[in-house]
């Protein structure tokens, strides 16, 4: 039975999963980590925490040093040829059999879905794309479905709000995984926030091309998060966090979102491996 069955019903999602439920492999000894360019520059700690969480489950993590960006910024801006070449470089780096774990729904969505579109005219490359797609997992999904983790909360009880990125929700279909992980923790009270399923307004270049609209969206999002009564905010996507935290800071608010991986590493022990931090 999927560990998701214990997840609370989703009150905000407006449509059911876009694809049939995914089947998951047994827990592997080795995985690749794709760190994403936003994490690389702005949230390297979240990337390291993802690595440590995986290691805590007894998994060897491989981080190909030649990795860069998944290609999404160019892809969504319409610069398809440029995106394809950057994607090609990543394809070559993750060519082994190991699963590729990505601490971001949006970059995972790129690997898992959009590379097919990028390489649709290259039949030989498409085989590599299909292999990569099948091996790509968002971190929360991987921990829950593949590692079958059982986490225990440590420290003081906390009320927190979870922001789920649109790509985790709609492309990776992993909007319930973060919830399910948090639901394992007795000391965590996850509170809903207003219009929880709505976009935070980041959208990559959208945030600078349409600053007023994007700004209105992120202001509503931060207000909703504050209004939820949560003391902490977590998200599994650093693009959203860049946006949300930047807005909190601009407003002089002390609240900051952190990556789910960081929260989990900080506030849990793993009962699945009997391991300690």
């Amino acid at each position: 039975m999927s560990p998701l069955s214990s997840a609370p019903a989703n009150a905000t999602r407006v449509a059911p999963p876009l694809e049939a439920a995914r089947s998951y492999p047994a827990k592997p000894a080795d995985v690749y980590l794709f760190g994403t360019c936003v994490i690389d520059v702005f949230f390297p700690g979240a990337g390291m925490d993802a690595i440590r969480l995986l290691e805590r489950e007894g998994i060897r993590v491989h981080f190909p040093q030649a990795q860069s960006c998944c290609g999404q910024p160019a892809y969504t801006s319409g610069y398809t040829d440029e995106a394809r070449e950057v994607a090609r470089a990543q394809l070559a780096l993750f060519a082994g059999d190991w699963p590729v774990v990505i601490p971001s729904g949006s970059c995972a969505g790129m690997f898992r879905h959009h590379y097919f579109e990028l390489f649709k005219d290259e039949p030989e490359t498409l085989q590599q794309v299909a292999s990569l797609s099948a091996r790509t997992f968002e971190l929360a999904e991987f921990l829950l479905e593949v590692c079958k983790v059982r986490f225990e909360h440590t420290g003081a009880p906390v009320r927190l709000a979870l922001h789920t990125s649109c790509s985790a929700r709609r492309e990776m279909n992993t909007h319930l995984h973060g919830r399910a992980l948090l639901a394992q923790l007795a000391g965590v009270e996850r509170v809903e926030h207003d219009h929880e399923s709505e976009c935070c307004g980041f959208g990559g270049s959208f945030s600078v091309r349409m600053p007023e609209i994007s700004g209105a969206m992120v202001q509503d999002k931060t207000a909703a998060l504050k209004g939820s009564g949560a003391a902490e905010v977590v998200s599994a996507d650093c693009g959203c966090l860049l946006n949300i935290n930047g807005c909190f800071e601009k407003q002089g608010d002390t609240l900051r979102g952190e990556h789910l991986a960081s929260f989990l590493l900080r506030r849990t022990t793993s009962a699945s491996t009997g391991g300690v931090r």
């Binding site: 407006v14 390297p44 440029e82 600053p211």
Partner: protein, 479 residues
């Protein structure tokens, strides 16, 4: 508005419109409240997610099949309509469509037209065209009637006056119709109906849209809630239906799932109050109905979308409006800011085919690609993918072949192209990337606090002291 290909087109002032709309607190409250209510209503209609998913897949297949044989279905539609006594007209442009309608009006010496709701007639700006030629058009749909009184355009394809609240309508009726001021919605509707009533009997022509044109039986199907559609299409002696060429479906069986998806997605109703099926003019032994029925089939850029396998999916649309109801951008700026007849996500993907990318250059960009539209679309149009595709068409070199969309290259810029080429080089050269990350993290102190549009609403992001590449290398070794 010009639809001629070689006239230099003025881009729609989308960003300015959006800025103004965002600053209008009343407008934002009206939209947020209305969209929240519509989302709830829709959700209540689809309690079973699996059923919804199957229905959407079915709806998608029905539409895709219809489009796959579009030319054939249109011919069959025409033949069967003609057999039923309906006169069929083809219009490539809105000018042609308007001229056809005006020609019919002239033949009947018509002075007065009563209209049921029709977005295609909005696309044609029919009221304006006929009005300038001495033929008055009166909107009979309550929302359309309200926006007509305000000399505005609809702000939503299903609920044209959704940008207004009851108080604003009360004031409008009080000012324009010289009636008492009341915010009682039922009373307001009553006032509107009383004003409209006699016009149905005075009108020389009734105009309507079409929801589904059924090829096999030559039937025009029309859904509505107010009864004005039925009045407009049965009381005046002449009925002219106007619609886009994509509205054809193969047979009545195909309509059933689409109808169910349409009304539940649009207004959260299991079925509308009225479902009109029009299969011809009054027959010799019948007591009522129009003596003449016409159908004008408008292209207006649809065949451009049709010609491309990917963009063709745009024509799946059954105009339910769910994509705008769920759109975080539309919810905040409302329909008028788009400056187009079709606002919201569907407007962003369909209008470039109607007006070209020069005019609509900002529309595909005005999306965070959150995907809410694609998630709710009852016929599974992959709206974000089509937005991305239109962005690609807008930044391609204007002369690059093949040419798929009018206005290709409207946003092409040498400078931006070079920036993305440099980005590609950086991200495909590991040594260079590493050096850049090293420099970026070491020079973080030099990051300016004001980085243009981003910092208007957020503080500037600060690079970390050391990149993940470095930290991972230290922890895991060189890999």
């Amino acid at each position: 508005m010009s639809h001629v290909a070689d006239t230099p087109a003025q881009p729609i002032a989308f960003t300015r419109n959006a800025r103004e709309a965002l600053a209008d607190a009343q407008l934002r409250r009206n939209f947020r409240g209305a969209m929240d209510a519509l989302m709830d209503k829709r959700r209540n209609q689809f309690p079973d997610g699996d059923e919804l998913e199957r229905l959407r897949a079915f709806g998608n297949r029905v539409r895709a099949r219809a489009l796959s044989k579009l030319p054939d279905l249109l011919e069959r539609l025409e033949a069967n309509l003609v057999r039923n006594g309906v006169q069929v007209h083809w219009a490539e442009t809105v000018e042609e469509a308007n001229a056809i309608v005006h020609g019919i009006a002239e033949r009947h010496a018509a002075r007065k037209v009563i209209k049921g709701k029709s977005m295609v007639s909005e696309e044609m700006e029919m009221n304006h065209y006929l009005g300038a030629r001495g033929v008055d058009c009166l909107e009979s749909d309550m929302g359309e009637f309200i926006v007509q009184l305000r000399a505005e355009k609809p702000s939503h394809i299903i609920m044209p006056a959704i940008h207004l609240n009851a108080g604003q309508v009360a004031k409008l009726f009080h000012d324009k119709l010289a009636v008492e001021y009341t915010e009682d919605v039922d009373r307001l509707i009553q006032i509107g109906r009383e004003t409209l009533r006699r016009n149905f009997f005075e009108a020389d022509i009734g105009v309507s849209g079409v929801n589904f044109a059924i090829a096999e039986t030559g039937t025009l199907l029309l859904v509505e809630n107010e009864g004005n559609g039925r009045m407009s299409t049965t009381v005046p002696p002449v009925h002219i239906a106007v619609t886009g060429i994509e509205k054809v479906v193969e047979n009545l069986r195909d309509v059933i799932p689409l109808l169910s998806l349409l009304t539940r997605s649009a207004t959260g109703q299991p079925i509308t109050t009225y479902v009109n099926m029009i299969s011809g003019p009054r027959k010799a032994d019948e007591l009522d109905g129009p003596q003449e029925v016409h159908l004008v089939l408008l292209d207006n850029g649809r065949s451009q979308a049709f010609a491309d396998g990917e963009l063709r999916q745009t024509l799946n649309c059954i105009r339910c409006g769910a994509c705008m109801n769920h759109c975080p951008v539309y919810t905040r700026i409302g329909g008028h800011a788009y400056g187009t007849v079709y606002p919201g996500p569907i407007g962003k993907i369909v209008t470039p085919h109607m007006l070209g990318l020069e005019t609509t250059r900002d529309l595909p960009t005005a999306s965070s690609m959150c995907g809410a539209c694609g998630e709710v679309c009852p016929v599974k149009i992959p709206i974000p993918s089509l937005l991305r595709r239109l962005r690609e068409e807008a930044v391609r070199a204007p002369a690059a072949e093949p040419h798929h969309v009018r206005g290709q290259g409207a946003k092409h810029s040498r400078k931006e192209t070079l920036v993305w080429r440099a980005w590609r080089t950086l991200n495909t050269s590991p040594g260079l990337y590493r050096a850049a990350m090293y420099a970026g993290t070491r020079l973080r102190g030099l990051m300016p606090a004001d980085i243009g549009p981003w910092t208007r609403y957020r503080s500037a992001p600060k690079p970390a002291a050391r990149s993940l590449h470095e930290l991972a290398r230290e922890h895991l070794g060189e890999q």
